[in-house]
């Protein structure tokens, strides 16, 4: 009997140790295919950016179907968490949507599933995109993604604190260091510059500094982190920390909680995003702040851009005209700008930027948008790079030298 009891115990233990590994899911959805009564049906698969996304798309589709009575549009909205597994399942099942809204597109382009953008847009629509965004949407010189919405970064400055400390809004690193130190000296827990190197978004703060010093993360061919150009930015981060210009424990501070502190008025300067404007408006409308370009080594303007894309799947190749009609309709400023504005992002078209130029809160972002630089997301090693930055970059706040930290990140990328 004791033997059986032991066996039972071991089984129970086995169960206990393995249940954590069984959580994997298989999901599938079906969609209606094809055409009815001579009309074309477009399948549209999009992620949900906010609670308003579905309504926004329904309005766009209603307007489009009115203008093009012979084309029907099927809308499917998924959460960001599900999106990539849904599209993968659909592609495997031969039911790829005609139009898809997502982030990475290089994998689909390499598998030759996508229309080149020039084949599914009119010349006017194509020419209206910001050139930097088009370059970011290319694989081997061909554009496969339509830049859809953008996000950029800029320096949020607490005017009240800077005035109290007698500091100037900085344009270069040296000015930033000087102003931040003055603000830090106010005491009372106030920090001059909010530097989030914690795992949440270390790659973003890394880009702000390394690229601002003339470096880069590489391109679609090679990831280059351990370079002399990048070292300048990494070393300046160490200088900022060592001279007490930042908040305590920069290496393990995440971005969102730190920005909450900025909103509370305890931080002089921090890099923020367009939605940060709305956050300040709702949480602490009394904050006296202004938005400026990110300081760089030599004062040359630049911003870190992130763009999501629309892409058109070829499928049977018989819906090219309908897709073109849809894109041309969607990217007219009257349709496109309200969509982008409602979601709190930035437009990727020249006409869109012009239409929004009256928006005071967005103006500083729109100004730097043409200078946007992007993560090398078309490089297959980008995911490994991203995680290496998240895991290791914060070590700059510590005993390790800047050179060692960059070398360790490069090693992890090369091994991945």
């Amino acid at each position: 009997m004791a033997q059986y009891r032991r066996l039972g115990g071991i089984l129970a233990i086995t169960l206990a140790t393995t249940t954590g590994l069984t959580a994997c899911g298989f999901g599938g959805t079906t969609s209606d295919e094809g055409t009815d009564g001579g009309s074309t049906t477009l399948d549209l698969l999009v992620p949900s950016y906010s609670d308003a996304t579905q309504g926004q798309w329904n309005d766009v589709i209603a307007g489009f179907e009115e203008a093009n009575p012979d084309i029907k549009v099927n809308l499917q909205v998924e959460s960001w968490d599900n999106l990539e597994s849904v599209i993968a399942t659909k592609i495997q099942g031969g039911e790829a949507p005609d139009i898809y809204n997502g982030g990475p597109f290089a994998g689909f382009a390499e598998d030759e599933l996508l229309y080149p953008v020039e084949d599914v847009t009119s010349d006017e629509t194509y020419a209206d995109f910001q050139p930097t965004f088009l370059e970011n949407a290319q694989v081997d010189g061909t554009t496969y993604g339509l830049p859809f919405i953008a996000s950029a970064r800029a320096l949020f400055v607490n005017d009240a604190l800077l005035e109290e400390a007698g500091a100037e809004v900085p344009a270069t690193w040296d000015e930033l260091l000087e102003s931040a130190k003055k603000v830090s000296e106010l005491g009372g827990g106030v920090a001059g510059y909010g530097m989030p190197l914690g795992s949440e978004e270390a790659q973003a703060e890394a880009a702000v500094w390394l690229w601002g010093g003339g470096g880069s993360f590489g391109d679609s061919e090679a990831i280059t982190i351990d370079t002399p150009e990048n070292l300048a930015g990494a070393e300046y981060i160490k200088t900022m920390i060592d001279e007490g210009a930042t908040q305590a424990d920069a290496g393990a501070t995440d971005r969102s909680p730190l920005f909450d502190i900025f909103v509370q008025g305890k931080i002089g300067m921090q890099v923020g995003l367009p939605p940060s404007v709305g956050q300040i408006e709702s949480d602490n409308p009394d904050l006296e702040y202004s938005i400026h370009p990110i300081p760089t080594k030599d004062g040359e303007p630049f911003t870190l851009g992130v763009a999501d894309h629309l892409m058109a799947f070829q499928n049977d190749g018989d819906k090219q005209e309908a897709i073109t009609a849809f894109f041309d309709y969607f990217y007219t400023a009257d349709v496109y700008v309200p969509w982008v504005q409602a979601e709190g992002f930035l437009p990727t078209t020249v006409s869109g930027s012009e239409a929004l130029s009256g928006e005071e809160a967005l103006a500083p972002f729109l100004e730097v948008l043409p200078d946007a630089q992007f993560y090398p997301t078309t490089n297959p090693d980008w995911a490994a790079t991203d995680s290496a930055f998240k895991a290791l970059f914060g070590q700059l706040d510590g005993d390790k030298s800047a050179k060692d930290v960059l070398a360790e990140i490069q090693d992890q990328v090369d091994a991945g």
Binding site: A191, S387, A388
Partner: protein
């Protein structure tokens, strides 16, 4: 053999279930740990034991393993001592005992992630309630507080505190159940023989709790070893690998680096370590034997 065949219709569903939810995933984990799997999940062929070599050869592997041992020993040890004391208290009759017994269940009933997040926010500089308190009573001199969750040592220590806190209810109740099976006569007899309170507890009551305690410890070891959420929340923002245990490292391989093959290899190692600990424990303590 004939008996076995006769029994098959009755045990068949259970065997099938165990095969599907226990043996198959374990087998798959072992299989994956010997493959080269790309980031998008494509199997690029077998690599033998190369994944294990990579995992063990990682420069932080041994510190991580050592930290895992510290984590299990300290958390289970503190939980046990705290639970023995709590159970002894709850076994006494006093006004409001029912309420106190209910209160002890709360950490068990609450989600672990929620409990950890509450403590995590309390430890935040600037607005955390624990930091504010320590600043107000003058224990911390910086006005924004101390970054408890931003330094590997303190974050790990606080994670242990939370782990003990959420492990207490189950252990306490297991021991409490054990206490109620201790016959009153044995305690009475000890008293008559002139034993004091401490002597009675350690020489008469505790030995009779052997069954309850050993089962509680066994289950706690497995639970604590496999615990991810507390460490994930408490030490998640710390760069490098100075606050990781095997479980958080598996998570980093899988979620951050998307290296399913390495994550599987480390899972296999973790699995074997747990099996080894449990096997030794079962041999030495025999928790499943009757007293």
């Amino acid at each position: 053999m004939k008996d076995l065949l006769k029994a098959l219709p009755w045990i068949g569903p259970a065997v099938a279930l165990i095969a599907a939810v226990v043996l198959f995933p374990v087998g798959l984990m072992f299989w994956n740990s010997t493959r080269d799997i790309s980031q998008s999940g494509v199997d690029d062929g077998g690599v033998g034991l190369a994944n294990f070599a990579t995992v063990v050869g990682f420069q932080y592997f041994w510190p991580i393993l050592g930290r895992t041992v510290v984590w299990v020993v300290v958390v289970v040890g503190c939980t046990l001592i705290g639970s023995l004391a709590l159970a002894a208290l709850l076994n006494k009759a006093f006004p409001g005992r029912r309420l106190v017994r209910m209160a002890v269940i709360v950490p068990w009933a609450a989600s672990v992630v929620m409990t950890t997040l509450v403590v995590h926010y309390g430890l935040e500089p600037y607005f955390g309630i624990i930091n504010s308190f320590l600043v107000d009573v003058g224990l911390i001199s910086t006005p924004e507080g101390y970054g408890w969750t931003r330094h590997p040592g303190t974050a790990f220590a606080w994670a242990m505190v939370v782990a003990v806190f959420v492990s207490l209810p189950f252990t306490t109740y297991t021991i409490l159940a054990g206490l109620q099976t201790v016959p009153g006569e044995t305690v009475e007899a000890a008293r008559i023989d002139g034993a004091g309170g401490l002597r009675t507890y350690f020489s008469v009551v505790l030995p009779q709790l052997r069954g309850a305690v050993s089962v509680a410890v066994l289950i706690n070891i497995i639970n604590v070893f496999n615990s991810l959420p507390i460490l994930r929340v408490m030490t998640g923002s710390i760069p490098g690998y100075d606050a990781d245990t095997i479980m958080t490292m598996i998570f980093k391989y899988m979620q951050n680096q998307r290296q399913i093959d390495l994550a599987s290899a480390l899972s296999v190692i973790a699995f074997l370590v747990v099996i080894a600990i449990v096997a030794v424990y079962v041999r030495v303590v025999r928790p499943l034997e009757e007293v």
